[in-house]
């Protein structure tokens, strides 16, 4: 099944002249709907699963991918700001990884637009996330007999850092929404009313559209800064390291997250962040790029007041004048976008990892 994409550009003229937020028509945007199926290589995904939860994939072997992308929390960070690598903090909330394989662009600021292989490399090697020298990673993996077997069984041959970066994305393809009431057609009456608001009066669909419920574009919604980024030197150091490395001008004096500005260096893109997917949002609180909103009701309130304060804020955002009941219906719909928790051993590697590396026997006799 392919994504249902209805651009309906001919309708565009018809809706012009109305207040955009109030007159948003579902037909104007790629419709929301079920996700297309992904073809998954089981052996590669199983290997990727073991790698995803393995702390030995970080420099000091203290954190794994799952440290920030917590299964119980929709594979997002449970704290407003991700923990980051030991010795520093972080400056953003880790996004949910459920359905991440359906994206075309990654990171809150959209700085990676190629593939999950590159995204995996970025997370493994950045000093404030996992700080892994991939040459050491490869040799650690080669030192684990189970990995050696799994790489072979998966058709990768000898473990290499290149195949680690292929296996993890293969696993990520298995993190797909399952049995969300929205997909099964078992939504409550309240959620159904909420969907109507979503597509109409509340105007959510203007950005949250398509099967992923995101246009995968950057917008400024005026989310207030999370001052913990700057007041906690552990987080601030990660922010400085990031902005320094990315080449953001005047990074020492920055008191806000530049967002998509990082990609274009255009002032008009300051404070824009990629529209997040809304699938599995029930689990992935807190919300927004910096975790500033704790609940879905809070998110609805935020948009109901027309978003936050920013001179660069999107013109799409206007006060919505939703009633209390409408807000509840909208939250019910948002909750209906979440399915089963992906926390069983189908998705989570639950077997223990060896506490130390086994020595290769006859080391002097065998080839490295």
């Amino acid at each position: 099944m392919g994504a249902r994409v209805t651009t309906g550009r001919t309708l565009l003229a018809a809706v012009m002249g109305f207040g955009v937020a109030l007159s948003a028509q579902a037909a104007e945007y790629p419709d929301i709907g079920p996700l297309p199926q992904l073809k998954i290589d089981k052996a590669k995904a199983e290997l990727g699963k073991r790698l995803f939860f393995d702390k030995r994939l970080s420099g000091d072997a203290a954190v794994s991918c799952a440290t920030c992308h917590v299964p119980e929390k929709g594979y997002a960070s449970e704290e407003a700001l991700s923990p980051g690598y030991p010795g520093n903090g972080h400056f953003r909330n880790a996004s949910s990884l459920v359905n991440v394989a359906h994206r075309k662009v990654w990171n809150w600021d959209g700085r990676i637009g190629t593939n999950l292989n590159d995204m995996t490399r970025e997370m493994l090697t950045e000093d404030y996330t996992m700080n892994m020298d991939m040459r050491i990673m490869q040799e650690r993996v080669k030192q684990d007999p189970l990995y050696v077997k799994m790489f072979k069984d998966a058709g990768y041959g000898e473990p290499s850092n290149g195949s680690v970066r292929k296996a993890i994305p293969e696993y990520l393809k298995t993190l797909t929404s399952a049995n969300a009431p929205f997909d099964t057609g078992k939504m409550s009456a309240s959620a159904k009313r909420g969907m109507k608001l979503f597509k109409g009066k509340a105007g959510c669909i203007q950005c949250h559209n398509g099967p992923m419920m995101t246009d995968q574009k950057a917008h400024n919604t005026g989310v207030p800064e999370n001052f913990d980024v700057f007041m906690d030197p552990m987080n601030h150091q990660a922010f400085i390291a990031f902005t320094m490395f990315q080449g953001i001008p005047n990074y020492m004096n920055l008191k806000r997250d530049p967002g998509y500005f990082n990609v274009t260096l255009l002032n008009e893109d300051m404070g824009k962040f990629l529209t997040p997917s809304l699938r599995e949002v029930k689990y992935s609180a807190p919300y927004m790029h910096n975790g500033m909103i704790k609940t879905l009701a809070g998110v609805v309130d935020f948009y109901n007041q027309g978003g936050g304060k920013d001179s660069n804020k999107s013109k799409l955002l206007k006060p919505l004048k939703l009633s209390g009941k409408e807000k509840k219906d909208l939250v019910a719909f948002l909750e209906a976008l979440s399915g089963d928790k992906l926390t069983s051993d189908k998705h989570v590697w639950k077997q223990p990892y060896p506490s130390e590396y086994e020595a290769i026997a006859n080391w002097t006799e065998v080839r490295n």
Binding site: N131, I136, E139, D232, H236
Partner: protein
């Protein structure tokens, strides 16, 4: 210039070879194998042999990194600060621990968390005198050594941006970097300059002068009779002076003396990981990566097969505090070291280098008696004076760069 140096080292090797009673043909190997820079101090040779041991003078200070008390003090703070590293746990002093001879008292240096190193941590004491740092001389100054160690995957594993960011959030460092280097924010390159400046003050001079240097300056009471006998062996029958010579007690050149591979590589999975990683990190061919079973040493720099298994002649001052010995720490006592040389470069199990073809022809069984071995060890002890102790400075704390008022004003201005 290069030619001249090579010629000189050929002469040096030839003279040394004759002195050691070896065949002249061996000189070819030694000389051809060592086309490396020698410190100018080493050039002043006596016509009859290698430069004699000489008292340690003042450490050379490079013109682009002059010593000032403020810079040295800043360098000391940074040397002891683990935030100059990857996860803020592993700084210079982590592997160069003052109480372990400003080195690390295990065969392999402890390495970054989750790793182990693959070579013995060398003492920083007197490192300032050496034209190149590390066992294979891969860094050309203390500054470059500090940088490489702080960033290496099995050492500090730090990256420039996060280390610089941390220092910027420590008010004490902002103040001191501004005073010393005149910059608004700490610059990572200046970190290496400050650390190197501190290291250049960490020498066995002045109150830490070693008995040998006192003796060489004329204090004949500084050595015991036993040590004086040991010195004669050092300069004569044992032939140590061939490489451990001059002011630095090292020719600063690279030799394969027959040290066997460390057995940990056969028994320890973590060490096996690092071993293979280092083949990549140091530069190795695919075939070399597959087949290497010991540290190829100077080969990684020169890529000449005749340099396999060669390491820089270690200086001998302060060695009473820096056990274990050799590039891979296989010997824990000076007695073991003397026994190893006395056997002609074999350990007590008869193990030796995996590269016999590059082994120095100077290394031959010495035929030392037990008494001679004792005398030699006694003399080696004369290379160490009082222990160099230092109280570790307190780490200056982080503080937020902005106030809440700054942040609220910026939020309002958005």
């Amino acid at each position: 210039m290069h030619l001249k140096k090579i010629t000189l080292s050929l002469v040096a090797a030839a003279v040394a070879t004759v002195f050691a009673g070896c065949q002249a043909t061996a000189a070819k190997h030694e000389g051809a194998a060592a086309p490396t820079k020698m410190a100018s101090a080493q050039m002043a040779m006596t016509p009859s042999g290698p430069p004699p041991l000489a008292p340690l003078g003042d450490a050379p200070i490079p013109p682009d990194n002059k010593l000032t008390p403020a810079k040295v003090e800043l360098g000391k703070l940074l040397f002891f600060d683990p935030r100059v590293g990857g996860d803020a746990s592993t700084g210079c002093s982590t592997c160069h621990e003052p109480e372990q001879g400003w080195a690390w008292a295990e065969d392999f240096s402890r390495g970054y968390p989750g790793t182990v190193h693959w070579r013995n941590s060398q003492s920083i004491i007197n490192s300032a005198y050496f034209p190149r740092q590390f066992w294979a001389g891969s860094a050309s100054s203390n500054e470059k050594q500090a940088k490489s160690a702080a960033k290496g995957g099995v050492a500090g594993n730090g990256e420039d941006d996060i280390m610089e960011a941390r220092l910027a959030l420590i008010p004490e460092y902002r103040k001191r970097f501004k005073e010393v280097f005149g910059t608004e924010w700490p610059i990572i390159d200046d970190v290496w300059h400050a650390i190197a400046a501190f290291e250049r003050t960490m020498n066995t001079t002045g109150e830490h002068e070693v008995p040998l240097d006192k003796y060489l300056k004329g204090d004949k009471g500084a050595l015991s009779e036993e040590q004086v006998r040991g010195m004669a062996l050092f300069n004569g029958k044992a032939g140590c002076i061939n490489c451990h010579n001059g002011e630095l007690t090292s020719d600063t050149d690279y030799h394969n003396i027959g040290v066997p591979p460390n057995k940990r590589w056969e028994e320890d999975g973590l060490a096996q990981i690092t071993f293979r990683f280092e083949q990549y990190a140091k530069g190795q061919t695919e075939e070399g990566y597959r087949n290497a079973k010991s540290d190829w040493g100077f080969y990684y720099r020169s890529k000449n097969k005749w340099d396999k298994g060669k390491f820089r002649t270690a200086p001998l001052r302060y060695i009473a505090y820096t056990a274990p010995y050799m590039h891979n720490g296989v010997f824990y006592t000076l007695e073991e070291v003397v026994d190893f040389y006395n056997r002609g470069g074999f350990d007590e199990e008869g193990r030796t280098t995996l590269f016999p073809e590059t082994k120095s022809s100077l290394i031959k069984p010495l035929g030392l008696s037990d008494q001679e071995k004792e005398d030699l060890v006694a003399f080696l002890e004369a290379f160490s004076g009082p222990e160099i102790e230092m109280e570790k400075p307190e780490q200056p704390p982080y503080a937020p760069l902005f106030t809440m008022a700054d942040l609220k004003a910026a939020q309002e201005a958005k």
